[in-house]
């Protein structure tokens, strides 16, 4: 970059003589104008009084804050016009404390503006660059140090050191391997399986085909989820199992993901969005469209839950369902593909 313009030297650019170079009277500060408080002792006293009133008010509010903190129970509520019902303690302590803090600030600034000197002063700036000689000697010294160390000439030493340093962070990576288990097949399987009954959540009521009117939509879980959670105390299974069950009239149901996966027009799809995993909640009966509230991916439940719009790339996996001998809705098997967001190994 030979054509860069260095700032060193006075003449920076070969520009025409423009007015920037003219030393017009504007290069001096405008004359300082005295304030009222500077010339009128009454104004100065008034400003002094104003400042001290603010500080004293602050002190008063601090005391009020302590009183309201102690006196107002935390479970007391008040109705504030325009703001609704709110915690009385929060309102009182916050207001008084806020005023106490604010008034100190207002007082200090009023003090600075009215009573402290307001004449602007000028300070000069210096170039940050050191002299050429100092720079040169520093460069020489670094070079000399490098030579003395033999870093450049002793290749074996240098390379072995670099090898050692390059390997040293690896244990940190190895340590990180224990931050969590290695993925196995968890992302491909859920609690659903052959014969697992559908239950509503959280009541755990078993579902029968008769419970469904045409157009009605129910959020459901596998019957074994409850026991699993009692045993495992985490929400991992629940993040994968939820399904939406909906009944459509046979002429509405244009396609399903597999032959015989519906039961008399009742279809079940994974509730977990295939985009980034939000539970999908918004269903429009007329169009059978299901909309994800997070990023608005839209799926058509009447057409194998294919993507109609939005950033999701894949349809919602369908759960093949049937009815057992007692007349309850059951799954024919687990999902035939992984539910939820894509991952690299999904293929």
């Amino acid at each position: 970059m030979s054509n860069e313009l260095e700032h060193e030297g006075s003449s920076i650019l070969p520009v025409q003589q423009t007015s920037t170079e003219v030393n017009t009277p504007v290069s001096v500060l405008p004359p300082h104008v005295l304030r009222r408080a500077d010339i009128d002792p009454i104004a100065a006293t008034r400003a002094e009084r104003q400042v001290s009133i603010m500080f004293l008010l602050s002190a008063l509010f601090t005391l009020l804050a302590i009183v309201s903190f102690i006196a107002i129970p935390v479970d007391q509520y008040v109705r504030v016009p325009g703001a609704g019902v709110t915690q009385a303690s929060n309102l009182a302590v916050g207001f008084t404390l806020g005023m106490a803090i604010l008034l100190i600030g207002l007082g200090a600034i009023h003090w600075a503006k009215k009573l402290m000197p307001d004449e602007e002063v000028t300070d000069s700036r210096h170039s940050f660059s050191s002299s050429k000689e100092i720079r040169q000697s520093v460069m020489e010294e670094i070079r000399l140090g490098g030579q003395e160390s033999g870093f450049a000439t002793r290749k074996i030493v240098r390379r072995s050191l670099l090898t050692a340093l390059a390997l040293l962070p690896l244990p940190a990576v190895v340590l990180a391997l224990d931050f969590g288990p290695t993925p196995k097949n968890e992302l491909r399987s859920t609690l659903w399986g052959k014969g697992v009954r559908l239950v509503t959540d959280p009541t755990g009521r078993l579902l029968r085909p008769e419970d469904f009117q045409v157009g009605s939509l129910v959020s459901a879980h596998p019957e074994n989820l409850h026991d699993w959670e009692e045993e495992n105390h985490n929400l991992n299974a629940r993040a994968k199992t939820p399904i939406l069950v909906v009944r459509m009239s046979p002429e509405e149901l244009r396609s399903t993901q597999g032959e015989g996966w519906d039961y008399q027009g009742i279809v079940a799809f994974s509730k977990v969005c295939t985009h980034v995993g939000c539970p999908i909640a918004l269903y429009e009966h007329r169009t059978h469209h299901l909309l994800c509230p997070c990023h608005q991916s839209t799926f058509d439940l009447a057409d194998s839950a294919n993507v109609v719009f939005g950033p999701a790339a894949r349809r919602l996996p369908q759960l093949p369902i049937s009815v057992d001998s007692e007349g309850y809705l059951i799954a024919q098997s687990d999902f035939q593909e992984p539910v939820g967001p894509s991952f690299w190994e999904r293929g």
Partner: protein, 563 residues
């Protein structure tokens, strides 16, 4: 006041402290140099101050919250005083946040101060960044501080996101679900990374305690270090200043640290703090009790993240559903990768490198301490507005469902429109901004040459009507004349004097073309001769007016004065 004879107890304590410290650390020289350090005054310089003060308030209120918050995902049954959730299963994290809100005196206030301060922190950092950008304060010698600032903004966004995820409520839990989906989308190692982050499958039991350490220790530690460096650089390099009378590239005009700036800056801290406390007392923020605990199969409609995440939400919503799948081999989720990792990565890289990009284009390696008026660098201002437009469209798209609902429009139509706007609007914004800047330059030149119109018409003996112009005031003139010319690089020679081919000639040619484009449209400042004759003309006009019996205003210079 206090030279050799010191009597008062205050004088004594001052002397004692100065001597004590100086004997041990030889601090007198440092204090002497810095006590009366000059800081220029301007309202826009307070933006960075607001950021600093909100950070301090965040440290104070955050420390308080750690005394009550439990970063545990262990499931318990709620038994606190918030009745609607009594008996419901939830994580200890959520239950302890409810406890802070309903059972700890002042707890809700502290939570709300912390949340409001966080919103203000990211907002003031962002607006401070815009101020620094549009006034060219990032130019040499302050490029490295700009880079640190970019790092601070990035960390502030991460810190905010990690913070509002800690209560483990339904809204923030949904945010974490999305975050886990993003990690899963990373090519090759995504699944492993997600398992390491969450300690297995999402949501697992480990994540909250890990996020907690990141939120209260790791990121604040780095933020604190970077903020210290940021301020030390400002201190050492001295603050930039706006052009004006008496202000040059070689001086700094303003008020001394002691006492004026100390009182003003110190007072301003209390004002920021006080307003945050008042707002927290009066306006509810993040009512986690209304969302309920996080349950992976539940969601609230119209979920919105905090404002500074909105643009990422928007980019995710706008992205077309591109996904590459090779059955049996891999799935590459471009629909997630591009809007959440690649695009922000690219945006922040360009942001951080901008000082060097502009420097490369203009070849301007001069040190700049005088701020540039946005109009005087139309391309930079144009690029800035272009980037802002891009950001704004992403941000608005983050609320496309709310817009659709409020305006009763089709969400698909809005999304498609926004996709198009994202590509079309920024260049249009650039062109319009650049034109406005150039017009303002013309106006400035006009003012310098012909003075300010007074609105008073005069009929000359010849019958001609003229409007009387007054020369611009000294203060205004100083501002108008403050422009530094934009340099234009010379055409690179293909061979040097010895006939050796210039290396990277194509890059130099590109650089030259860009430099030409950058400065070619500038409206040249009037030359000295033009300025003098114009002043003469104005004064002549004024004297003519006076002869005609027009009374001039008080502050108009007498026609004889030699401007």
């Amino acid at each position: 006041m206090s030279n050799s004879v010191n009597q008062g107890p205050i004088d004594k304590s001052i002397d004692g402290t100065v001597k004590y410290l100086d004997d041990r650390f030889s601090t007198a020289g440092f204090i002497k140099r810095n006590m009366r350090k000059v800081f220029p005054d301007h309202w826009s310089f307070m933006l960075g101050e607001i950021a600093l003060y909100s950070f301090i308030i965040l440290l104070l209120s955050g420390t308080y919250l750690t005394f009550f918050y439990k970063p545990s995902m262990l499931e318990i049954v709620y038994d606190g005083s918030y009745l609607p959730l009594k008996g419901i299963k939830m994580s200890e994290a959520y239950a302890s946040t409810l406890e802070i809100s309903f059972d700890v005196r002042g707890g809700l206030l502290m939570r709300q101060i912390h949340h409001w301060a966080a919103l203000l922190f990211v907002a003031s950092v962002s607006i401070h960044l815009l101020r620094v950008f549009f006034t060219g304060a990032f130019r040499k010698p302050r490029e490295i501080n700009w880079l640190i600032g970019t790092g601070l903004l990035t960390l502030a966004i991460f810190e905010g996101f990690s913070g509002y995820s800690l209560p483990d409520d339904l809204l923030s839990g949904t945010g974490l679900r999305i975050a886990s989906g993003i990690v899963l989308a990373i090519p090759v190692v995504g699944t492993y990374a997600s398992y390491l982050v969450f300690g297995g499958e999402f949501p697992g039991l480990d994540f909250m305690s890990r996020l907690y350490t990141i939120h209260v220790l790791l990121i604040p530690g780095i933020l604190l270090g970077l903020i210290t460096a940021h301020l030390m650089m400002v201190w050492y390099q001295k603050h930039t200043q706006y052009p004006g009378p008496g202000r040059t590239n070689n001086n700094v005009v303003g008020y001394p640290l002691l006492p004026v700036y100390m009182a003003k800056a110190g007072g301003f801290f209390f004002i920021v703090f006080g307003i945050l406390v008042l707002v927290s007392a009066l306006v509810t923020i993040n009512p986690i009790w209304a969302y309920g605990p996080y349950i992976p199969d539940q969601v609230t409609a119209g979920s919105q993240p905090d404002w500074y995440i909105g643009w990422l939400d928007g980019s995710t919503r706008l992205m077309p559903n591109w996904e590459i799948t090779i059955p049996g081999l891999f799935t590459l989720s471009l629909n997630v990768l591009i809007p959440t990792l690649i695009l922000p990565g690219l945006m922040f890289t360009i942001l951080g490198l901008y000082p060097w990009i502009e420097q490369w284009i203009t070849g301007d390696k001069r040190a700049h301490h005088l701020l540039e008026r946005p109009r005087n660098n139309p391309n930079r201002t144009g690029l800035g507005v272009m980037a802002l437009t891009f950001y704004a469209i992403l941000w608005i798209s983050g609320g496309n469902d709310i817009i659709a609902q409020m305006l009763n429009l089709s969400i698909n139509a809005i999304t498609i429109t926004m996709r198009a706007m994202l590509i079309i609007a920024p260049p249009i914004a650039f062109v319009i901004t650049k034109r406005i800047c150039l017009s303002l330059q013309h106006k400035d030149k006009e003012l310098l040459l012909h003075g300010e119109p007074t609105g008073r018409l005069l009929r000359l003996p010849s019958g001609e009507f003229i409007e009387i112009h007054e020369p611009v005031s000294d203060a205004k003139r100083a501002v108008l004349l403050s422009r530094t010319e934009l340099p234009m690089l010379p055409v690179p020679a293909s061979h040097d004097a010895n006939g050796v081919k210039t290396p990277n000639l194509w890059a130099k040619k590109l650089q030259r073309r860009l430099s030409h484009w950058w400065s070619v449209d500038q409206v040249p400042l009037p030359t000295v001769a033009e300025l003098e004759s114009a002043t003469e003309h104005t004064l002549h006009e004024l004297s003519e007016a006076q002869e005609q019996g027009v009374e001039l205003t008080k502050d108009t210079p007498a026609p004889t004065s030699n401007h």
